[in-house]
Amino acid sequence: MSSWPEKLTVVGGSTKRVDTPAKVTGEARYASDVQPTGWLYGMIFRSRWPAACVTRVNVDKARKMPGIKAAVVERDGERVVRFYGDELAAVAGVSKQACLDALRAIEVEATPLPFVVKEEAAKNLDAPRVWPDAPNLAEPNVREKGDVDKAFAGAAAVVDGFFTTPVQLHHPLETHGNTVSVTNDGVTCWASTQGIFSVREGLASYLDVPQEKVRVITDYMGGGFGSKFGPGPHGGLAARLSQAAGVPVKLMLTRFDQALAVGNRPSSFQKIRLGADADGKLVAFDMDSFGTAGIGAGAASAGGGGGSGFPAPYIYAVPNIRVKQATVAINAGQSCAFRAPGHPIASFGMESIMDELAAKLKMDPVELRVKNDPSKIRQREYAIGAERFGWKQKYKPPGSSPGPVKVGVGCAGATWGGGGRGSQAEAQINPDGSVEIRCGTQDLGTGSRTMVGVVAAEVFGLKPEQITIKIGDTRYPPSGASGGSTTAASVCPAIFDTCTVALQKLQETTGVADARGANWLAACKKLGVNPLTAHGEWREGLSSSGVGGVQFAEVEVDTETGLVKVRKVLCVQDCGLIVNKLTCETLIHGGIVMGLGYALYEERVMDATTGFVLNPNFETYKLPNFADVPDIEVILMEMPERGVIGVGEPCTIPTASAIANAVANAIGVRVSSLPITPARVLMASGKAVKPGGTV
């Protein structure tokens, strides 16, 4: 078992991102910035039908358009498209406009088919089937423990609720895409990805070339959040266009495309009943839920009830449980991983019903949670957070805030894994004292690059900016994809091991007993001409898994207009040994802002008549702006003895739940659907005029 030194000087400090200058000057090259010689724009032609049998896609005219160098059909022969936005063909040309013009010259023969895009309609047995051989609604996954009915019968308090969460779209600021160069010598792909090796694997298999012939480079990328693992259909099409045109093709999706076909967070419709004894100890939980993962759901999808399932009753210990979860297929883009898959959905239903129970029992919501949450870590976090937030002073019974603008508070907890393993790395120490660390990980914008520098600097007694950090290239030693909050826990131990080995080697080779810090340059000089290299890998003992995290929110709700303004979010988060406090805190800020979007703004709107996404842009798919962001306070609960644990996901889980609970606490009525818009607040309060109604 390896272990971190007791005394750490760089690790745990606040190191500014080593790549800030490159980013602010534009020197940093994102996948969308690279311009290899002769490159062309690529663009995708998509289905304009939510469902259709496509008999022919003809790109001949498109191929002959001015400036167009290649055009490919996504697949030959007759096929069925099942959502608006499904890929049908792609073109490459010398300008965006040339491609846009060519897309309009593509001819398609198709027979439209019936479709359904609303979850509740899709459940009906007579609804059009997304997949012909199976009903849209899958058989539910059922889990049962104890005697639920008996426990409810004996419960002192029982509460019921119906909660819904929307499909949330993936909108990283850098859209999905790649620049791909396919030549006889091999394939180079500059990818906007969370996993350079998974892109390599995907492209090699798609093109049927050996993996060693495929090089994937991700120097910088603009966010993925779970949606950028493989090359994607767009990556494959870019490769084929490059093959056809004989030059590199850059195919970055448009913001419109993003709303259709890059994955999303599934929706949920959760019917929940929760019972407790007179002391507030939970005795029974009953859930019947469904949701959609788009076309990748329902009875026809692998895993039956999978796709939009989520943990229930989430973080709480309940002796008697009955959970029924089903998915329903609709004619819409498929879901994929989305920052803490399942958890924000699970948290919203469960934490909402917990507050309903607290209100019924006339119990403090924090007290009810601590009583039923078996995690000792979260119990401590609630204590720390409640104290700092002033919970005891701020919490008032629901709806008791005076005046038309009411103030309320809420809280919620989260759990996540965050473990990681398997990374490898190498170090090269040069006789002039310069040192290079290479690792095939990638920086999603979370600060991974800086983290590599921090760990290396710690071991060598140097400053992070003295380390040359090489990441984001499949020519470097392999590391895993950056998903599941695994990167820190996987990469940091590998860097620590590599640098420790390198330091030992340096000391052995040069005879310098301690080559660190002030002795570094002198020791390196003794190497002579050849640099020293060392290889290392992830070791047990330097990282672990399993975090908690709790958040508190304070909101004001204008009961006349329904407008919710979040005043403050306080987060108490553990993540083991903190590698870099600054980027850890900013990562959590980002998670909270994303949770704020889920709470108040974001929702994919499908139109039942046309089957289209109605809000495929930032005008109507609403993301938080800076003006919406509240005062955010992060308290990191340091547990260095646990080693490094990832924190990218847990920090976004409880935000929406805490905000929703604060809204309910303010107005005394629960808005049980996300996002909590003025419309929903006014409807829940009974103030909105009913359809067809007049004043």
């Binding site: 139109d607 046309t610 003025p678």
Partner: protein, 319 residues
Amino acid sequence: MNPFQYASPHSVDGAISQAGDHGRFFAGGIDVLGEMKEYIASPRVLVNVKDLPGTRDISAGKPWTIGANVTISEIEQHAELKLVFPGLQQAAAEVGSPQIRNVATVGGNLAQHSRCWYYRHRDIQCLKRGGSTCYAREGENKYHSLFTGNPCISPVVSNLAVALAALDAKVIVRRGKDEVAMAIPDLYAKAWDNPQAHNSLGPTDLILRVQIPDDGRTSAYKQISEKASFDWALVSCAAAAKVDGKKLSKVRVVLGAVSPVPYQVQAAHEFLEGKELNDDLAAHASEIVLKDAVALDHNGYKVPIARALIRRTLKQLVG
């Protein structure tokens, strides 16, 4: 977008003749370029009107004159305008983002087209675009009208129109050889009746300037949006009145984003005339304004917002 010719005339006559029946005027470009990129509009010629003489000035007087090419930022930041017409300045400050306000113009803001998400969708040929159906009526209509005189339910979203209506402003439009002074209700009247109209302007009608009477009234504007910045109003409200203590006269109350026209009700103005404002009076006035509202499946929430905004905007008038 489709190819187009670009013209940059230096006279109004030149602009009008170059626009013809298949051209569009181009100032800030915020609205027309968006339509062109989505292939909603494909003008044969884009006529840059930014170089037309005398269209970039704000001049005090009776009336005040604001050129069509004055940017929204210039209104927002004009110190004197802010004192004389606070409602107009507040309406300007809520437009888009700073970047948009820096290029968007008064003329463009008034003449902008529907933001209905069916109308703006590249693959939907809705009623407003010459199709046969208003999809919003039975569909997703949370952002749509409570009042309309035609089957299309997309509302007017110009902030300035709402504020200028309250101020009894006149929009000076060049129509053929004549300069026509159109009150705000006239500027939008056609949109009330005609589902394909965004306003009453013909393809070669060009907004030259806006005249606002400086008649000693004060004004106010408020809106509620889902987001704190860079978002359209769910409902907006402008009011203007002569205020004597708490007594109101020459009152105007106008709602935006609830109708294809800036929505006002004469009976409400008459009701408020000469009365001292208090909460009950404002509430009563709001009921008069909202009397004919018809809620669709998803927009009934706009009624309580409008009610609150009318009360608050009137209250702001008396300080």
